[in-house]
């Protein structure tokens, strides 16, 4: 677009600016609230400038937690969240890339049947199967454990499907050339398929990490001890009752902290992420 039309440009920018404000303003309010005292937040109108309690609030949530709500320190929750999100993301990638590899490159009985079985589970997210899954997890003694947080979410039909579609675009001749070169299936997988999937893995990692980090319903059910809370649950547990009984400055500080890791992952992986979505290196 090289045309110059001032009115259209103005309107376009106006819409964009309004959009940015609509997205950014709540974030700003959260940040401001996390830097002030309880009294300042509940006063009307609430101040919109950064206050003086930034360090106090963050120190308190990271080490001691809220006094009136859940008393677990948020530092521990962040570690729990990180373990859960990383395991879910990496586990999903590991399992789905291997199953996609099997489905695309090996001929075995009922291959298509299994693919469609995996595909059908796309329609069954955790929320749909939550009661039986809880029963299974509790029978296996997985309540209040990392395994319980991670395992039920670790298989991914979506990722399997995406990897399958990507593998199908890799020319067959590449596999044949590798066969003639003397590479066995796993050698082919590690030397050729895996490097070619790099950008796809990165893109999926970002998506799946955020998915794992934002898990709410399942961790809420399966964790009872404060030491196993994830940060998303922690926020929920801090909100104990009515407006006045919550330490909003601490809740907001926790919310800010919960926001940082996914944002960091997106920013750090952005280059790879975009590449994975738009580029096919063949």
């Amino acid at each position: 677009m090289v045309e110059h039309r001032p009115v259209r440009d103005f309107v376009a920018h106006l819409i964009l600016i309004v959009g940015v404000i609509a997205v950014a303003f709540p974030l700003w309010v959260t940040f401001v609230a996390s830097t002030r005292t309880f009294e300042e937040i509940v006063s009307v109108p609430m101040p919109l400038t950064v206050g003086s309690h930034l360090q106090d609030n963050y120190e308190q949530v990271l080490t001691a937690g809220s006094e009136r709500g859940s008393k677990a320190p948020v530092g521990r929750m962040l570690v729990n969240s990180l373990i859960m999100a990383l395991s879910i993301a990496l586990g999903k990638i590991f399992i789905s890339i291997l199953s996609a590899f099997a489905i695309v490159y090996f001929r075995f009985p009922l291959r298509n049947f299994f693919f469609w079985m995996i595909f059908v589970t796309l329609m069954l997210p955790i929320e749909v199967r939550i009661i039986p899954t809880f029963k299974v997890a509790s029978d296996l003694g997985l309540l209040d454990s990392y395994a319980g947080l991670i395992l039920p979410a670790i298989a991914s039909a979506t990722a399997t499907f995406l990897f399958r579609q990507f593998f199908l675009t890799i020319p067959d001749e590449l596999a044949e050339a590798a066969r003639i070169d003397g590479a066995g299936p796993m050698r082919f997988f590690f030397d050729v398929v895996l490097p070619l999937s790099k950008t796809h893995i990165a893109a999926l990692f970002v998506i799946l990490f955020i998915y794992g980090w934002n898990q709410y319903l399942w961790p809420l059910l399966i964790t009872a001890q404060e030491s196993m809370y994830t940060v998303v649950i922690g926020i929920k547990r801090m909100i104990a009752g009515g407006d006045a009984s919550n330490e909003w400055q601490l809740i907001m500080a926790t919310a800010m902290l919960a926001l940082l890791p996914p944002a960091a992952v997106v920013m750090l992986m952005q280059k790879w992420f975009v590449k994975g979505l738009v580029e096919t290196e063949k």
């Binding site: 020319p171 001749e173 590449l174 044949e176 050339a177 590798a178 066969r179 003639i180 070169d181 003397g182 590479a183 050698r187 030397d191 050729v192 490097p195 070619l196 790099k198 290196e281 063949k282």
Partner: protein, 356 residues
């Protein structure tokens, strides 16, 4: 270096037999081209030799060893694919070295072989590049380099030049010829391009619908086609066919033209005979010895060195090649005759060449 023998080889997918009983012996150091229209099964035969397809029946031997049950990597062959099949994430060097690395060659040995292949193929300056940074011709050379470094018993080429543009194709054709002269490795080359087949082959296999129609040196096949299919497929522009009926000691192809049958064929020729004449075997004007006939010139393609006349005769268009520029105008009429002894006679029903 090895001899490749196919003995009674067939291939079926389900119940359909796509390759019918094939017996071929490819001599040590020979360059054999399998040529045929797309879908004729030539690639399937090549892939059976490579071990990428199973053999339904019969035996394939490479260097005297039965390889039907042997994995591709252990057949001591190297293959060059139409779409190059280079590993996109590896440098040119690594692409060539990969097979050697897997075979646990020492680093020095790998380096020596890769450098040597790069020298032969003039890939030296590109060794650190990725395949996507190379042109089509260079990529094809890398694919050949990958084959050369292995020093295999045989090279298998699967339409290696089909993805290149016309000019590059000619150049690569010459390079493959040169390469074969230098390395003298047994080579099997699949193509649908009869020019490639003619220029590269020591011997060629003309394949049609899963059957080897003829095996022979290129000019032998050109001069002595065994069937209508071979005659029509080899040669460009292709041979003219004039279906006719037996009339005494000749074949009546219409418009009053009776092409005399050679004495040796008179006994065997049936009722329906097709006469084939190559475009260059017409004699324009009244100077020829054979029976004369009249052509209506429809279009003229002046190619410089020669001209192609598309001329109507008995309801079909014949292609006549005339040397030089002197061409009749489109729409004019031309008297011509067939060069004596250069007409081919085929049984219209079986498609086989009549033999005396």
């Amino acid at each position: 270096m090895a001899e490749i023998v196919l003995q009674g080889v067939t291939k079926s997918f389900g119940k359909t037999e796509v390759i019918h009983r094939t017996d071929v012996t490819i001599g040590d150091g020979e360059f054999v081209v399998m040529v045929g229209p797309s879908g004729c099964g030539k690639s399937t035969i090549l892939r059976m030799i490579a071990g990428l397809e199973t053999t339904t029946d019969g035996e394939i031997r490479i260097g005297g060893r039965r390889v039907n049950e042997v994995e591709p990597k252990d057949r001591n062959i190297a293959m060059v694919f139409q779409n190059y099949a280079l590993y996109p994430h590896m440098s040119v060097y690594d692409n060539m070295a990969y097979g050697l690395k897997i075979r646990k060659f020492t680093k020095d040995d790998i380096d020596k072989r890769v450098q040597r292949a790069a020298g032969i193929l003039e890939l030296g300056p590109y060794l650190r590049r990725k395949p996507r940074e190379l042109s089509g011709g260079q990529r094809q050379r890398v694919a050949m380099g990958r084959a050369i470094v292995r020093e295999p018993a045989a090279f298998l080429f699967d339409e290696p030049l089909s993805n290149l543009d016309a000019k590059l194709r000619v150049q690569m054709r010459l390079e493959i010829q040169k390469l074969h002269r230098e390395l003298a490795t047994t080579s099997v080359y699949v193509t649908h391009d009869q020019v490639e087949a003619m220029t590269l082959a020591n011997r060629m296999l003309v394949i049609n619908a899963g059957t080897v129609e003829q095996i022979g040196a290129p000019l032998e096949v050109y001069d002595d086609p065994a069937s209508l299919f071979v005659a029509g497929f080899i040669g460009s522009p292709s041979m003219n066919f004039m279906p006719g009926r037996r009339a005494g000691d000749g074949v009546d192809v219409g418009e009053g033209l009776v092409v005399p049958l050679p004495p040796a064929l008179r006994a065997t020729a049936g009722e329906q005979v097709t006469v084939g004449v190559r475009p260059e075997h017409f004699v324009p004007g009244t100077g020829g010895e054979g029976p004369r006939f009249r052509l209506r010139v429809d279009t003229v393609e002046a190619l410089g060195a020669d001209s192609l006349l598309h001329a109507g005769f008995n309801g079909t268009l014949l292609v006549v090649r005339i040397e030089g520029h002197a061409t009749p105008l489109a729409g004019s009429s031309l008297e011509a005759s067939i060069l004596p002894g250069k007409a081919y006679f085929f049984d219209t029903v079986t498609g086989k060449r009549l033999a005396g």
